[in-house]
């Protein structure tokens, strides 16, 4: 029962979109951050450390993630579609996180 699909990236087959033709390579950055309603204890700890460093006035500090990607896709609309799917289904968990996508033209 060893199918062809199983030989490709284990566990991530649905995101494995090999492109055999030469297509543009898009650069993207996805920022993932906790929803405003979700407590960010790591951010609070970093804010407290800022005060100990002697930096006054840090009123708010929230920690997120930046994911940098390079993606081969036939056109911008398709690149955006794949990146949005990726952001919404893998890079962020919409229950607790928001994400923003920045796509850079090749």
């Amino acid at each position: 029962m060893q199918s062809v699909e199983r030989k490709r990236a284990p566990g991530l087959s649905r995101f494995n979109n090999p492109c055999s033709e030469l297509v543009p390579r898009y650069q993207a950055r996805v920022l993932v951050h906790l929803r405003p309603s979700v407590l960010d204890p790591a951010g609070e700890a970093a804010r407290a450390a800022a005060t100990r460093l002697g930096v006054e006035g840090v009123a708010r500090l929230r920690i997120g993630k930046a994911v940098e990607l390079e993606l081969d896709a036939p056109d911008e609309a398709e690149a955006r579609r794949r990146l949005e799917l990726l952001s919404d289904r893998l890079l962020a968990n919409p229950v607790i996180e928001n994400w923003t996508l920045k796509l850079i033209q090749p």
Binding site: M1, R6, P10, G11, L12, S13, R14, F15, L34, V38, L39, D40, P41, A42, A45, L90, L91, N93, V95, I96
Partner: protein, 217 residues
């Protein structure tokens, strides 16, 4: 009647679960490597605690795409019992079998201690042997066990009588003191405490036995 225990790269409670179900409770148990798809012959599947895929991205975020979990979705929809413990609970929420998400503990500490719990619902087989409101202790061991969900989801959990367990002294900041929830039909239970670490009188007591016995009850 037998139980499958999923083994992800980074699981570290898989052997504890098997020791508890097979060694302490005498229930036939086998491991399920994360690339397996064949769940035939199994009556229940346990997603164990640990750090599947190194907790990369988020706890359970990568594990969710493991081949074995595609089979688990159809296993669960046909009524098979699924128990997610700690990291297993995180995987179940990422997979969408249970609502909500688990995130960093309120005080950032990794908490490893016995914690008192109370039974909120005895509707499902998992806690049918206990009375609503009864109290017992189980060990917890997690850094990211703060249950989070929207107000709408919380209301739905309450309406469905799907909150199984609450902490008596909320250690991690979970919404509504939630320690464990079930799906509406009650076949899937996810909880942060570790019942498998409380199945042997010589090491941690036996208060976790009832939940594991429910795998095949």
């Amino acid at each position: 009647m037998s139980i499958g225990v999923v083994v992800f790269p980074g699981s570290n409670c898989d052997r504890d679960v098997r020791w508890a179900t097979e060694g302490c409770l005498g229930m036939p148990t086998r491991y399920l490597w994360h690339e397996e798809r064949d769940l035939s012959g199994l009556d229940a599947v346990v997603l164990p605690g640990g750090f599947s895929y190194g907790d990369y991205l988020r706890c359970g975020a990568i594990a969710r795409f493991a081949p074995v979990l595609e089979s688990l979705l159809s296993f669960a929809s046909s009524g098979g019992r699924v128990l997610g413990i700690c990291n297993g609970f995180q995987v179940l929420t990422e997979l969408g079998l249970l609502p909500g998400a688990l995130t960093r503990n309120r005080d950032l500490h990794f908490i490893c201690e016995d914690t008192p719990l109370s039974v909120v619902s005895a509707r499902t087989p998992w806690l049918a042997s206990m009375d609503i409101g009864s109290q017992f202790c189980l060990p917890i061991a997690h850094g990211e066990g703060r249950y989070q969900c929207s107000d709408d989801t919380l209301k739905r959990l309450e309406d469905d009588d799907a909150i199984a367990l609450r902490y008596r002294s909320n250690p991690n900041g979970s919404v509504s003191d939630i320690a464990g929830i079930t799906n509406p039909t009650g076949t899937v239970l996810g909880l942060m405490p570790h019942p498998e670490r409380a199945c042997d009188a010589q090491t941690g007591g036996t208060s976790g036995r009832a939940i594991l016995e429910a795998l095949l009850s």
